[in-house]
Symmetry: C2
Subunit: 176 residues, 2 copies
DNA sequence: TCGCTGATGTCAGAGGCTGACATCAGCGAG
DNA sequence: CTCGCTGATGTCAGCCTCTGACATCAGCGA
């Protein structure tokens, strides 16, 4: 993280990282599949939180309830895991580099798939499950981006609620 | 495309592609920024279609109207540009490789940003514009995926309409 | 015909990543 | 206590992607 923050992602070589960590380049690649993966390790926890929230919801929960439950769970979990500050530094590094954005998008897509799978497990039909997967991730990541904005003081959960309401607003008219 | 289809993306070297094309490796990299980019060249047209549809909509169009207009435009355009068969081959190559999925996701994200920007240009507020950008791309790509499924005979436009309706259904209850 | 421009070739090299093999510390079985 | 296994690390060679610098060459307008 320090090296990336100093010289940027591309300019930082794996050899440099390894040296700073006191190991070999080869050892680095045994811990991380990728140079990029350093910034995304431990992302699997988020997925677990979402999936658990959906799987653990009451039996009579509607799809909409499940969406809300999933969002509430991530919102709550993220407050503790890492501070907003860490997220900000990391985010700055990522937004400065397209390769990293690609990786982030892949992770988000996997998140979406995980949500979809969890919904399918509960008997939700295919198409709604997919779209709800996308929707959860979309609302989450939009709220997250706003949450780590420089002057933002509001709660992540609150921002998510707002986003969900906006989508609801947006789609209310379309089917007419 | 032939080489990728035969041996897969990773196993195919740029040297191999260049040789098949009768040029040098260096020349390949002057035409494509990336080995992956071969499969995504010309993607910018899609963006143009979406943006034009939004920019060219009637002045009194609501946000919902704009979403519908954008989807109708891509749906219409894609029918002609490339056949479904080409899209299928390409898709098979992409789904077989994570690197390519990353690139695809990046392209979709750019599409989303372009839509968002076009909406902002029309005076749509920030948050709705972002979410609508995601929504358009989500509906489009979900419908597209279904469109190129092996046994699918239905129209892309029709599949999109169905997806949009599903989301509308999904969000109607949440704000209560 | 000259000289410019754009596309291509050639070459060398950095950096990401992998496989194969060696080393070594720790730890449980005997 | 010692042997032998296991897992983590180091070492080495090498492939492949991608880039900068320079040379070449065809076409085209002055």
């Amino acid at each position: 993280m320090e090296l990336f923050a100093e010289g940027g992602f591309e300019a930082t070589t794996v050899a440099g990282i390894a040296e700073r960590a006191g190991v070999t380049e080869r050892t680095f690649f045994r811990h991380f599949a990728d140079k990029r993966e350093v910034l995304f390790a431990g992302e699997g926890q988020l997925e677990a939180v979402l999936v658990d929230a959906i799987a653990g919801a009451p039996a009579d929960a509607s799809l909409a309830d499940l969406v809300v439950a999933a969002l509430a769970a991530v919102g709550g979990a993220l407050q503790d895991v890492r501070g907003r500050d860490f997220a900000r530094v990391r985010n700055e590094i990522i937004t400065a580099n397209e390769q990293l954005q690609e990786r982030e998008l892949l992770k988000l897509a996997k998140l979406s798939h995980a949500v979809t799978a969890a919904l399918l497990d509960r008997g939700v039909a295919d198409v709604p499950a997919r779209l709800a997967g996308d929707l959860v991730v979309s609302v989450f990541s939009t709220a997250f981006a706003r949450w780590i904005a420089p002057d933002q003081t509001r709660d992540l959960v609150e921002l998510q609620r707002e986003g969900l309401a906006a989508i609801s607003e947006l789609t209310r008219v379309e089917t007419v």
